[in-house]
């Protein structure tokens, strides 16, 4: 099993969700996050006061997938979240040892 975490632009959440649903990924966790990569932040001036946006609001999605699904899911996220500009986000993959469904103690990929 592999955990896929993707930090994406807020505006791309709906498109990414739809793309993942289309390949059969139904469960995910969505988290409101702030951060920056190379995009850095920027400063706006509002009524004479500088309003610094050094950490940009982003959306993070997380899901744990059977290994067979991982590449398809990565492609779905890439396809839906990419604009080609700095700030499109990143995908992180990591190995998962176990998944347990709390309701019935089911374990392994069946619990996903």
């Amino acid at each position: 099993m592999t955990k896929l975490e993707a930090v994406i632009q807020n505006s791309k959440l709906d498109a990414v969700k739809t793309a993942l649903h289309e390949i059969g990924v139904e469960g995910m966790t969505v988290i409101e996050v702030r951060g920056h990569g190379r995009q850095k932040g920027h400063t706006e001036v509002y009524r004479g006061r500088e309003y610094s946006v050094d950490l940009i609001p982003k959306t993070k999605i997380e899901m744990v997938l059977p290994d067979a699904m991982v590449e398809k899911a990565v492609q779905a996220v890439l396809g839906a979240a990419r604009t080609g500009k700095i700030g499109d986000g990143k995908i992180f993959l990591s190995r998962m040892d176990e998944a347990i469904r709390i309701r019935n103690d089911e374990r392994g990929e069946g619990a996903l």
């Binding site: 632009q9 807020n10 505006s11 959440l13 709906d14 409101e32 996050v33 702030r34 920027h42 706006e44 001036v45 509002y46 009524r47 004479g48 309003y51 946006v53 940009i56 609001p57 604009t83 700030g87």
Partner: protein
């Protein structure tokens, strides 16, 4: 494993058969009271048999121990899966020691029968002690009932110990009960209007019915020094509570039977089923889930009102600090209303025959954060039928309503009006959302409560310590007509009460009806409708890339003016906040703010996009329809004005400006003066000339007027339309009607060069002492050469002070700059002035900008 005794087997089968019988009887009758009484009787029978088997063959023995039903069981209200509250009462410690084993066995057998027992063991002396950490135990004794054992021992408890304990500890008991009740209400967000309420614990639920009885009982025992013969509640209150109990008992039995456990949450599935089965409402015709929930909320509302009033009316229930505040509030008494212990009473009981007094009453409540006394509520209920014949309406009603909406406790006043059915009498459109449950995964409250909460969250911005609340609170203070924002919040979701495709469209229809009733001025109506029509727009834009300038530009253009943008940002913030307590995360607040400032900056930096009178758009089409005869003049007048001109002025105002421009041949300076809600507004229409704006600002300064906002625009033909909003610092115009004409003449003669402005300014300066600024604002000058293709923008932020605008504008003119557009604003003690400048018909060169900056810095330095 030991085999169960024959008695246990018999009890188990009797419990199972009788429980099934009670369930069947409830399914057929729907009578909750009967079901709980039967369950109580069934459990008593089991207890008696066990007692005779384990403790004493004689149910009224042995001496020195008694079995007492307390809490719900004591009241005879045993719901299908409720705990059984039992007290093992002992004469003394020896008795407790002697009966330890039989009591343990007795309890164990009950557990083995799968009955949920809540047992307590106390000696008589222990029952006589009040423990402030366990108010619940002493309260549970108020419902004690003899079951088995030593009857004399029980009599000592009931007839002597409890009345003495209550008399001795009445104050602490009332305070303790008030405290646990308030804590419980707080867990439910202090409101009964949940989409999926817990009908036992939520405000207005079964627990509150008991609290009402306990409060009345404690007061009665304290007064009579004994148990009262009958219920201590007033007859009408008792009647309401009994009706609520009938409904709530049936609903709770229904939930217990349906879940097979003590689960009291009315979730959506349960609401559908309860409505289909007409639980607690057997006489009703067809019921939808929403209709059934309205019945629930109606009862819950009556229960909550009773409990709230009893808590307010019993001074012993107050903490010392609360009492101090209430005593201070007693000084608020007026000719119409007296305030006693924080409750409003009418000075003249018959006064409510005058609808104005009624409206003033709720304004008074909204202003001071007071509550209505039970007597006042009763009088209002009595006055409503007469009021319903000819309810107040029109501008007078709107005046009272807007004043009430602006008060800090407006939401509480609206809730009280709603609970008494006055609000829906005045605005029947709100019936559509009365206790309306609309199911989605985000909202936690009914639509009416959501609207009140949104209004409340706006008012709370001012006192909040949260960073985001303070930031948005600052915006609220800058609004020209905050009452329009509040009215929009009150009406924004009314369309949810109409089954249709889009609730926004339906809300617009409903809002139009409501504003017809209130006779709202067309300009104000347009603002309210704009807010309702766009109340989801900001949230929708947040789903796009708000760092993309095109997204920001499209959104800002939809908003049109900074004032509308500001109101919509506040409406969005309050609307999200009222969805549920966790809905407005700092992340969302920041996103809304980011979009707001992006759009605000865009609006100020794109103000010079010009109007072309030939273009077809909605506003121009409306203007053409108003001016068909003078269409060529109209075209010439509009050509070349900034788009912003059409956004900040209504079609009627534009037509008036056109009329004034028409008169320029006769009188070269056209001046109009009017008084608005917050400030005066001067409109000047004339031909452009050097130093015009500076001179206009100067003449106002010479009269001691404080310029708050200004818009200065000119068209291609060089006709200038300047509007200046100002406050009259010395109340010259307010107190002297004759000065209006002199002021108008003064403006005209200065602009025509017939009066000496410098002398007027010197005279004013001599008569004024320099005021010390409360907040120091650092001067900032910023140039932007990229936002306009024809002008250079300069934004000046400076400490607001008399003659500031005159000095800035004069300095710009001295530097040979032509002011194409001026957007003047004030925020507290900070002046924020934006000018679009040209020189010789072109943008300013870099060197020229440096000179202008140097001159402005020099001009504004120090003082």
């Amino acid at each position: 494993m030991m085999a169960a005794s024959p008695l246990i087997n018999e009890l188990r089968s009797s419990l199972s058969e009788e429980s099934a019988r009670i369930h069947r009887a409830f399914e057929s009758s729907g009578d909750g009271r009967a079901a709980v009484a039967q369950r109580t009787s069934l459990i008593e029978d089991i207890l008696r048999k066990l007692w005779c088997d384990i403790v004493s063959p004689d149910a009224s023995g042995p001496p020195n121990i008694a079995l007492v039903a307390t809490g719900g069981f004591g009241r005879g209200w045993l719901f299908p899966y409720s705990d059984i509250d039992l007290l093992f009462l002992f004469g003394d410690r020896d008795g407790e020691q002697a009966f330890r084993d039989p009591v343990r066995k007795f309890s164990q057998e009950l557990w083995d029968l799968r009955l949920k027992l809540s047992p307590a063991s106390r000696t008589l002396a222990e029952c006589d002690r009040y423990d402030s950490n366990n108010t619940e135990f002493t309260i549970s004794l108020l419902d004690c009932r003899y079951l088995m054992g030593d009857r004399d021992l029980f009599r000592k408890l009931h007839d002597k110990v409890i009345p003495k304990l209550v008399m001795r500890e009445s104050k602490a008991l009332l305070q303790g009960l008030a405290e646990v009740t308030r804590e419980r209400h707080a867990k439910h967000g202090m409101t009964l209007y949940h989409l999926e309420p817990n009908l036992k614990e939520a405000p207005g639920g079964l627990r509150d019915c008991n609290v009402a009885s306990w409060l009345a009982l404690i007061s009665a025992i304290d007064k009579l020094h004994d148990w009262p013969d009958a219920s201590s509640l007033r007859a009408p209150v008792k009647k309401q509570l009994e009706a609520a109990l009938d409904f709530l008992m049936s609903a709770r039995c229904f939930l217990h039977f349906r879940h097979g456990r003590d689960d009291n949450t009315l979730s959506w599935g349960e609401q559908d089923e309860a409505a289909a089965r007409k639980v607690g409402a057997a006489d009703a015709l067809e019921l939808s889930a929403a209709d059934w929930m309205r019945i629930y909320f109606g009862h819950a509302r009556a229960v909550q009102r009773t409990v709230t009033q009893l808590l307010e009316e019993i001074p012993e229930a107050w903490s010392a600090l609360y009492r101090q505040v209430q005593s201070w509030r007693s000084r608020l008494t007026t000719a119409d209303f007296s305030v006693v212990d924080g409750l409003i009473f009418l000075q003249q009981p018959s006064a409510l025959q005058d609808p104005e007094v009624l409206l003033r009453l709720f304004h008074f409540m909204a202003h001071h954060g007071l509550k209505l006394s039970a007597t006042t509520e009763y009088r209002i209920e009595q006055a409503l039928p007469a009021l319903a014949v000819t309810p107040p309406r029109g501008a007078e009603l709107w005046l009272y309503l807007q004043e009430t909406l602006l008060q800090p406790y407006a939401a509480d006043a609206l809730r009280a009006m709603h609970s008494l059915r006055l609000l829906t009498l005045l605005l029947p459109e709100l019936n559509l959302i009365d206790s309306l449950v609309v199911r989605d995964f985000y909202h936690r409250f009914t639509v009416d409560e959501h609207s009140f909460l949104a209004i409340e969250s706006l008012h709370r911005l001012k006192q909040s310590k949260s960073e985001w609340d303070q930031r948005y609170g600052g915006l609220l203070g800058e609004l020209e007509d905050p009452e329009l924002l509040h009215l929009a919040l009150l009406l924004h979701d009314t369309g949810k009460g109409i089954p249709s495709g889009s609730h926004v469209e339906a809300s617009l229809d409903v809002a139009n009806h409501a504003m017809d009733r209130l006779d709202v001025d067309p300009k104000e109506r347009a603002e309210v409708l704009f807010l309702i029509a766009n109340h989801l727009e900001m949230s929708a834009t947040l789903r796009r890339d708000i760092f993309d300038p095109a997204t920001v530009a499209a959104f800002a253009e939809k908003m049109g003016t900074p004032e509308r943008l500001k109101m919509l940002a506040l409406l969005t913030y309050a609307d999200i906040k009222a969805v549920n307590p966790e809905a407005l995360t700092p992340w969302k607040a920041e996103n809304v703010w980011q979009l707001y400032i992006g759009a605000e900056n865009y609006l100020n930096r794109s103000a010079d996009q010009r109007v072309h009178a030939d273009v077809n758009d909605e506003k121009l089409a409306r203007l053409r329809s108003l001016a068909p005869v003078t269409s060529s003049k109209f075209k010439g007048f509009l050509e070349g004005f900034p788009q912003r001109y059409l956004l900040v002025h209504t079609a009627e105002e534009v037509m008036r400006h056109l009329g004034m421009a028409d008169e320029l041949g006769v009188d070269p300076v056209q001046v109009e003066l009017k008084r608005g809600r917050h400030w005066y507004e001067l409109t000047l229409v004339t031909q452009d000339r050097p130093f015009l704006f500076a001179t206009l600002a100067g003449v106002l300064a010479a009269w001691g007027m404080n310029i708050v906002k200004a818009n200065a625009f000119s068209n291609q033909a060089g006709t200038v339309v300047d509007t200046i909003s100002f406050t009259d610092r010395f109340r010259t115009l307010e107190l002297n009607l004759s000065e209006w004409e002199r002021f108008r003449r003064s403006v005209t003669s200065v602009l025509l060069g017939e009066a000496d402005l410098e002398k007027m300014l010197r005279d004013r300066q001599r008569s004024e002492k320099g005021a010390i600024a409360k907040v120091k604002v650092e001067t900032k000058i910023e140039f932007d050469d990229s936002c306009s293709s024809t002008s250079t923008l300069v934004q000046v932020i400076a400490q607001d002070r008399p003659r500031l605008l005159h000095r800035i504008a004069s300095c710009l003119s001295d530097q040979e700059c032509n002011i194409e557009i001026a957007l003047i604003d004030t925020e507290g003690q900070m002046a924020i002035d934006t000018f679009y400048l040209t020189s010789g018909g072109k943008k300013l060169k870099a060197e020229h900008c440096r000179q202008v900056e140097k001159a402005l810095v020099e001009e504004l330095r120090g003082e």
